[in-house]
Subunit: 498 residues, 2 copies
C-alpha cells in the first residue's frame, strides 16, 4: 500500500459543517506522522481535497487500512466506501498571522483580507480560528477602509452574476425585528413593475427566520446560477437562497460560526450584505434599517452612522445605496418563524382583509423607495405605484409565477403543538421586548423546525383585558414546547401592560 | 425506559478535551427534543454531569437505546458501557452575553468574570465561545482593572494552597525565548537555601516546551495537592505540573484554546501567571522578562509597562512582585524541546565544564534576585549566595531529592532521527530569529514528542566557517523530520551571518 493511503469507511457520523476524519491510533500514518486527536489534516481523493480534523479511534471500529469520514466530508470529497484517500499534515495557514496581528491592534490590508477569505473558503480555518477572526472584527474594531477591503475581498472570493439590463435592483433589511418579512412582497412588486430584482437571501443568522427559511416553506430555494438566470430572465425576479450559489462563499462559512456565537457585528454585516449585492450584479440597493430599543439598531444615531457607512462602502464597490430608517419598536407581522411568516406574506399578497397592515405598509414603502431610486423622470410617486401593483393583484400573480418557475408551490402548515399565553392584567401595551420574543421563537424550534415559532396578537397601544390572548407559541415537538415555556417563566417583562 | 435515558456505548473515539456524545438521528430523545448535529447537551450519570456536543449517527453504529461517548467524556462522567445516562438541552449560558458585551466595547466587571470562569470550568463554553472570549481579551482590550478582576476571578474559581511559613517564593518567565529553562535550577537553589518554593509549571502554550514538559522527561509531574504538600514540607520545593492540581482550572481550559490559536495576550497572561502564584500560596514572586525583537516582549518600553502591570495586579491580590528584564535576543541553552532542554538543565546543575554558560548565569541571577527580595538584613548578595549553592553541588543534590520525592528519576534520551544544518557561508552570527527556531522545533514534534526539537550551536557573535554545524534537528518520526525540513526551506533568514 502506498504511503499515506487508507481506504474510506463510512461511519455515518453527522458533524454538520465540520469535516472529521477518524483514524486508528496505531495506523501507519498516525504513527509515522505523529498525528494525535484534533490534528488538522489534508485529505485527498479523486483530485479533490478537503481539510479535516482528526478524531483518533482506540477501538475496533476501523480496520488497520481504513479511515472513517464524517457525512459531509464524504460528500465534499465525493468518495464512497472502499475508495483510497491520501492524508497529509495541513501546512501552517499563514493568513492566521494576520488575524493575530489584528488581535494585537494592527490594521488589515485588502491583500491580507483576500488571503484570509481564500483560506476560509478552502476550509483551512477551524471553527476556533473563525471565531477569533469574527471577534477580532467585532464591535467597532474595523475601520471604514477595512470594511471596504473586506467587502472587496468577499466579492473577489466568489462568483459574480452578469445581467443584460443596466439597472438591477435589490433590497436588504438589517434584521432584529421579528416578522419583518417584506422581501417576498417587495420582490413581487418590483418584478411586476418590470425591473430586474434577482434576490438571494440568507437563512437566519441569529433570528428565528431568514427570508430563505420563509421562502423554503413555499417553494424551492436551492437554485443554481443557471436556474436563477432563467427565472429572472422570464419573471424579472427570483427569491432564492444565496448559500447554494456561492455568491459569497466565505461569508456563508463566517455566518455559520456567527450563528453559534449569536453575534453579527457591523463591519462584518456591511461587508456581508454589500458583497452579496455586488456579486448578484445589482446596481441600486435599498436598505431597511428598523430602529428600536430591542431591535438590532437601537438609536437614531447608530442608524445615521450605519446609513453613512453603507453609502460609502457601496460607492467604493460601485453600488448606489439608499437607506430607509423605519420603526423598530415591535414585531411587524403576526407570525414569527418560517411557516408563520410565510402565512403573513401570502395574506398581504392576496389582499386579505385581515392581512397585517404594518407589513403591507412597510413593503409598499420599500418598493416605492426602490422605484423612486431608479426613476429617471423624478415624478417620484413610487409609493403610489407600488401600492397599485400590490392591490390590483399583479404582485401576487408575479409571486406565484416566480415560485412556479423556481420549481414548487407549497402551502405553509401549522405545527402540531401550541400554547396560548393570555394576559393576567388589563391595560394598554406600552413596551415589547423584541429580543426576548425572538429567543422564545427560537427555543420553540424556529427556524430549524419550519412551523415552529409564535403568533403575536398584542402590538403597542393595544387595549388588553384580563384573559385576552397575547400570543401563541407553536412547536413541532413536546420537548421544544416545554423548553420555550420554561424560558417564558424567566421573562416577566416580555410585554409591558401599563 | 425513563424519558431522556440511553445506555452508554464506548466507541473508543478520542476527541481530546472536547466531550462528544453520539446519538442516533431516529432515537426517541433526538426526535422529542429536536436535537441535531452540534446541539450542546447536558449528560448526567451517577450524580456527575458534563456538557457535550452532539454528533448524529445515521448508521447502525448504535442500537436504538444506546448513546456513544468520546473517551474523555466517559472518564469525566465516570461511567462504563451499559450504564444509564440522562440527556437534556443545555440551557442558554447567560455569561456569554458578557463576552458579547465586551466584543461591543463594554467593560467586564469582577462579578461577570467570575460567572464566566465558573461556566468555563463547568464545560459550558464550547471551543468557539472560548476563542471569542480569548480574542475579546486580546491585545490591549483589557484595562488594568479588568486584569485585576480576571486574576481574582481565576483565583476564586480554583483551589488554594496554605503553608505554615510566612515567606513562600515563586518565579515565572515570560516565555518566547527558546531553551530558557532556568526554573528547575532556580527552584533547586532556593530550596537548598532553605526557602519554600512550591513551583507548579504549565505545559507549553505556544512554545516547543514548557517547564512541565521538560520536568516530565526526568520525573513524575502529576502530583496531587497532598503529594505536593509532602514534597515541599520535606524538600522545601517541588517541580510539579500545575494542571493536575486545579490551582487555576479555568486558566487550563483557556490555555488549551490559546494553544490552538497560537496567541497569549498580555492581560490574560498576567491573570494566568498571578492567579496561579496566589493560589499556590506564594508571597514573593520574581518575573523574568526577556526582551528581544523576536522574543515575546519586543521592546524595553513593552517590558516597562509589563513590569508595572505585574506589580500593580500583584499588589491587588496580595503578592510582592519583582520583575527582571533580561536579554531576549537569542536562545539561552543549547537544547530546544523537552528532552534536549532537560539535558542542559542537568549539565548546569552538575557543573559540567561544557554546560551552557548563559543558562547558568540567568538561573543564578534570578535565584539571587529572589534571595534579595526576601532578605531582611539588606546585605543583598543574593547572586553570590546563589552561585555558591549551585557550585558546591547543593542545588543538584536538592534537585535529585525533589525528583525522587516526586516519584521518579529518569535520564533524558535523544530521538531516533536527526538532521544537521551546516553553514553555507563564513562570517559572524548577527541576528537569530527565535520565533522561526521555535516553530522549527515544534514542526519536528516538540513538545508532543519529548525528544524532538533542536540543538543550537551558533549563538550571536560566533565566528562561523563554511561547513560549520549551526544546529541539529531531532525528530521521533521520519514524517516529522521531513515536515521540519520542508519548513526550513522556506526560512532563509533564520540565522543571519554577516
Amino acid at each position: 500500500m502506498e504511503q499515506n493511503q487508507l481506504k474510506v469507511k463510512s461511519l455515518g457520523i453527522d458533524t454538520y459543517r465540520e469535516n472529521i476524519i477518524y483514524m486508528r491510533s496505531d495506523c501507519h500514518i498516525c504513527t509515522a506522522e505523529g498525528f494525535t486527536a484534533l490534528t488538522r489534516v489534508v485529505v485527498q481523493a479523486n483530485g479533490n481535497d478537503i481539510v479535516a480534523t482528526l478524531n483518533v479511534i482506540e477501538s475496533g471500529l476501523l480496520q488497520h487500512d481504513e479511515a472513517g469520514l464524517s457525512v459531509e466530508a464524504i460528500k465534499r470529497l465525493n468518495v464512497k466506501e472502499g475508495d483510497q484517500i491520501r492524508i497529509h499534515h495541513l501546512k501552517p495557514v499563514e493568513s492566521i498571522a494576520f488575524v493575530r496581528g489584528k488581535m494585537y491592534g494592527k490594521t488589515f490590508t485588502e491583500k491580507q483580507l483576500s488571503e484570509i477569505m481564500r483560506d476560509i473558503i478552502k476550509g483551512r480555518y477551524s471553527n476556533v480560528e473563525l471565531a477569533a477572526f469574527i471577534t477580532a472584527c467585532s464591535g467597532d474594531n474595523l475601520s471604514l477602509d477595512e470594511i471596504i477591503s473586506l467587502t472587496k475581498a468577499m466579492i473577489g472570493a466568489g462568483h459574480k452574476l452578469l445581467w443584460t439590463r443596466p439597472i438591477v435592483l435589490d433590497k436588504h433589511c438589517i434584521g432584529g425585528l421579528p416578522g419583518n418579512r417584506t422581501t417576498p412582497i417587495v420582490v413581487s412588486i418590483i418584478a411586476a413593475a418590470g425591473y430586474y430584482i434577482p434576490k438571494t437571501s440568507s437563512r437566519a443568522i441569529t433570528s428565528p427566520a431568514g427570508t430563505a427559511d420563509v421562502m423554503e416553506v413555499i417553494t424551492n430555494i436551492n437554485l443554481d446560477l443557471k436556474h436563477i438566470k432563467k427565472v429572472v430572465e422570464i419573471q424579472n425576479g427570483c427569491l432564492a437562497w444565496g448559500g447554494s450559489i456561492n455568491l459569497s462563499p466565505a461569508d456563508d462559512i463566517i455566518i455559520s460560526v456567527e450563528k453559534t456565537l449569536d453575534v453579527d457585528s457591523e463591519g462584518q454585516m456591511i461587508a456581508s450584505v454589500l458583497s452579496k449585492k455586488a456579486a448578484a450584479g445589482s446596481t441600486h440597493v435599498v436598505i431597511d434599517i428598523p430602529v428600536g430599543e430591542t431591535a438590532k439598531v437601537r438609536t437614531q444615531e447608530d442608524a445615521k452612522r450605519l446609513e453613512h457607512n453603507f453609502k460609502v462602502v457601496g460607492e467604493a464597490v460601485g453600488l448606489n445605496v439608499k437607506s430607509i430608517v423605519t420603526d423598530g419598536t415591535q414585531p411587524v407581522g403576526v407570525g414569527i418563524g418560517p411557516s408563520l411568516e410565510a402565512m403573513d406574506v401570502l395574506s398581504v399578497l392576496q389582499n386579505e382583509p385581515n392581512a397585517p397592515r404594518e407589513l403591507k405598509l412597510r413593503a409598499v414603502t420599500l418598493a416605492g423607495a426602490m422605484l423612486d431610486l431608479v426613476d429617471s423622470e423624478h415624478n417620484m410617486d413610487g409609493f403610489g405605484k407600488a401600492l397599485h401593483i400590490l392591490e390590483r393583484g399583479d404582485a401576487f400573480e408575479k409571486f406565484k409565477s416566480i415560485c412556479v418557475a423556481q420549481g414548487a408551490w407549497k402551502e405553509p402548515k401549522l405545527a402540531q403543538y401550541s400554547f396560548d399565553v393570555k394576559s393576567l392584567h388589563e391595560g394598554v401595551v406600552t413596551i415589547i421586548n423584541n429580543r426576548q420574543l425572538s429567543k422564545l421563537a427560537k427555543l420553540a424550534g424556529a427556524p430549524r423546525s419550519p412551523s415552529a415559532g409564535l403568533q403575536f396578537f398584542a402590538p403597542l397601544h393595544t387595549k388588553i383585558s384580563t384573559g385576552d390572548l397575547l400570543f401563541r407559541i407553536w412547536a413541532e415537538t413536546k420537548g421544544e414546547l416545554e423548553y420555550a415555556k420554561e424560558y417564558l417563566d424567566t421573562i416577566p417583562h416580555l410585554i409591558t401592560i401599563g
